[in-house]
Symmetry: C2
Subunit: 322 residues, 2 copies
């Protein structure tokens, strides 16, 4: 699958927003599915999300640069989301990395990192900054000029977090026609650029008439591993692309509940309630060598659903408004 | 490569002696080479040797049973020989393993195992028996009725061990013609079966005339990572198959010396001095996407040399004497 979220697309690679799916297995990998790992490329800045065993090798196959990884988000400290971190950090060290690496992970990652640094950290000459996650609702943990990263709690057997990576809202562009028509002042143009209406004593010039967004800001949410819970749809509301675990098919809802996982239908319901642009599921039970039947279940509830497969590259296009 | 060591071969799969090469990378894996890991199948009993990242996934591809692994030999505690152990142990736990797993490893493996059991050991219901290696010359660390495992020190930057897995010498069969010709007594037949000559007051009946081995006992030696040293050839003398690291080509001997590794020529010289049946090399520097030129270098010294590649299955045939 090398697909596009929406009708329009731009070739401007500097503006890309691209998800590399490196692994879609749950606890037991299969010959076709590596454990959970993804890399989101936002305009050339790379966010890694989970780091299951073999992630570094999948990254090489996907031609993802190790040194461009600035941030690693670890949802929880279960091996199938984590055991690739040792090899990846070692490789970064051997490649001569010097820039800071931020790792957003629960407090339970601290002894894991300590262990690694004590026994295998000789070659690590770069700073590893463990940002401890312990929020109870979505909280911004990183931002730069154009992008922000939020983390929020999920509901799993151990402390687990989801992530949202989104472009910041850009300044509005003001229509030249509106400037002429209303004789807009510099202050009024500033207000419109900030997304506000212009309120004069005798009239209101609405932002939606006089200005437009230069492009649609894009967003990605990652939810794995989790049982469904009411707040989740609010927290990921309106994201362009939602990755949600669907470990089990619909009929295995009891198993899902017992293990704090989700079924296809539960993932699709969250996508529907959240009004996301598109749903991508993964983290499949190893019981099912083929999960094609998951797709039919998903689409009964949320038609814009797809199955993630190892090696998938999913682009969210840059839509420029003219 | 799916090759045979010798001229004769038996189809008797119960008598197999088969090496599965799972990874041939050195410190940095490539898209074609996983880190070091092998499984030797001796008559259906599996010995794993080193366990680099991704080993469990390579095992699935090679259709190697996780549950039949009785022994894991870890040469040393460097990540590229070890980082697959966490995922493999976890998977064994999830598959319901109950039988003891023996891990032959240096003492420096103890904190690694402690870490794993403390943070990821919940699902491990089987006993893990860490046999601490600290010998200064070859020592038997395990044996059953037909096979024995020896460990011996290598010369690397950290404490490192090599391994020999070999079939025990079988009892000799006595030729029926010799029994008739010499009127052999039960005691004399016993002596011949044990491999001794029969010494009578008036004559010596030589074992080689009166008896024969029912089959040639096979042996495998694993030497990675190591600089060359004088005792090594004696220790692996006459093995059917020697796996020896050849991280570097001949021209990089200074780099090899500095890093306590071997070149092609050094590996081949050890094979020649040891008079092994065949040499297989691996643990290639990631500098060289193709190592085909290593083979020419090896064969200038030891013609029965081959390059190991990920996924290779190397059979040492069962040669039955009739």
């Amino acid at each position: 699958m090398h697909s596009q979220l929406s009708r329009a697309s731009s070739k401007a690679s500097k503006m890309n927003f691209t998800l590399n799916v490196l692994g879609t297995a749950s606890a037991l990998p299969t010959t076709e599915r590596y454990p959970s790992a993804q890399v989101l490329d936002v305009r050339g800045r790379l966010f890694m999300i989970d780091c299951g065993e073999g992630a570094q090798i999948r990254m090489r196959k996907a031609k993802v640069s190790f040194l461009k990884i600035e941030h690693i988000c670890l949802s929880h400290i279960h091996g199938d989301h984590l055991f690739g971190i040792f090899g990846l950090l070692s490789t970064m060290g051997m490649l001569g990395r010097s820039s800071v690496l931020n790792i957003y992970a629960p407090g339970s990652f601290a002894p894991v990192l300590d262990f690694f640094m004590t026994h295998f950290g000789d070659g690590i000459k770069f700073e590893i900054n463990h940002v401890v996650l312990d929020m109870s609702e979505p909280l911004k943990v990183y931002e730069n000029r154009t992008v922000e990263l939020l983390a929020f709690p999920l509901r799993h057997r151990v402390e687990t977090f989801g992530f949202i990576i989104r472009e910041k809202m850009p300044s509005y562009n003001v229509h030249k026609e509106a400037i002429a028509k209303y004789g807009l002042t510099v202050a009024e143009i500033g207000r419109l650029k900030a997304g506000e209406d212009v309120v004069r004593s005798d009239m209101v010039i609405s932002r939606d008439e006089a200005a437009y967004l230069p492009y649609e800001p894009r967003s990605y949410a990652y939810c794995s591993d989790t049982a469904p819970f009411p707040e989740l749809a609010c927290w990921v509301k309106g994201v362009s692309l939602l990755y949600h675990e669907a470990t089990y098919p619909a009929e295995m809802s009891e198993m899902a509940e017992k293990n704090y996982h989700s079924t296809t239908l539960q993932a699709a319901r969250t996508a529907l309630e959240a009004g996301v642009g598109r749903l991508l599921v993964g983290h499949y039970s190893s019981r099912f060598p083929s999960v094609d039947f998951y797709l039919d279940e998903l689409r009964t509830i949320f038609p814009d659903s797809d199955l993630a497969h190892d090696g998938d590259v999913v682009e969210i296009p840059y839509i420029r408004n003219l």
